[in-house]
Each structure stands twice: as C-alpha cells, then as structure tokens.
Amino acid sequence: EAAVTQSPRNKVAVTGGKVTLSCNQTNNHNNMYWYRQDTGHGLRLIHYSYGAGSTEKGDIPDGYKASRPSQENFSLILELATPSQTSVYFCASGDAGGSNERLFFGHGTKLSVL
C-alpha cells in the first residue's frame, strides 16, 4: 500500500516564528505536492515538485517555501508564520504525472499560528 507520512500531526506556532512541515513517501513517485485545506476553499496547491532538487510554485505560494532534498522527502517551510496560515496542510505524491495522475495523500498536519 502506498504510504505518505506527514510530521508533525499537530503544530502550534507563534506569529513570526519559523515552521517546517515534513513529508515522506515510500511510493517512489516523482511528483509531490503540498496543499492547504480550508473550509469553503477545498484543497489549494501551494508548491509541488517533479523530483529531487526541484520545486515549483502552485496557486498560492506566497509566504511559503518548499524543499525536495530527495525522492522521498518534501518539506514546506513557513519562514515567518502568520495567523492567516492557520490551516490543515496535506502532502501528496503522484503516480504518473499528466492530467490523469492519481494522488496519494498523507493524514494532514493541523497548524495553528497564534
């Protein structure tokens, strides 16, 4: 079974602090994604990656950085966290690339910025 693991599951941060969300996949998928989920907005794409060393901006990249140091790991970095970044964050890996790609999601990280 495909596996995407996120850590931590819950995080409380202070405004202005640095937050790093981690994601590990054992699917050997090239593509990885970071989404945030907010009520009324569904899932919105923040950053994605085609493979180790690559990161691309998604639809809402402002205030976020991403890092893909290896095939397995993809991190989302909030250098200066703000309360507006309070959300649930999902990491996913993709099995094919292209329009019919199937995404495998982790369980999510609930982030609260106070």
Partner: protein, 113 residues
Amino acid sequence: QQQVRQSPQSLTVWEGETAILNCSYEDSTFNYFPWYQQFPGEGPALLISISSVSDKKEDGRFTIFFNKREKKLSLHITDSQPGDSATYFCAASASSGSWQLIFGSGTQLTVMP
C-alpha cells in the same frame, strides 16, 4: 475565481437513498475529473474518475454522469450507507499546459441510519 464549483455544500440522506453531488467547471480544456473521498482526520483518497470522452462511469454504487456541453458532472451514490458519510471533492485537470488538479470546495455527505 473558483474554476471548479460543487453543490450542495452539505447533504443529508437516509440509509438506502441515492445521494447526488453536483460539480461544474469553467475551463473547457479540462478533460479529467476525479472524485476524492475524505473521512474525518484522514487525507483524501481517489474514489472514482472520468475522462471527457465518456459520459458515464460506474464503480459499484458510485456513478459519475458527465455533460460536456454544459460543463457539469454529478456523483450518484446509490443505496447510501452510513459508512459513506464523508466529504467528497470534485477535481479537474487538463492534459495540456498546467495539468495539476484543481479541487472544488467539497460536499459534506451525512448518511443517517
């Protein structure tokens, strides 16, 4: 501007009834439409998908109906079960240009026993 819209936002049906979840889109280049199912505390998981060359896709109790001309699709869940209670996301992507999935805002389905 939401490119993929879902309605209703929430839906309650009785066990055994058919639940109908609606989705519409704006971009005529979209040609792949997956539905993801999400249970509380978990990430979404692919439930069923359809491409724009088909007008219907069936998988057990789950059926997608697709109307390309009207840019609409719907997910029908027949003989709904309490275990189907979840949030359902419609998504869309195009085979050209930026092919990343665009998700709708979701429909929260509750099936009462």
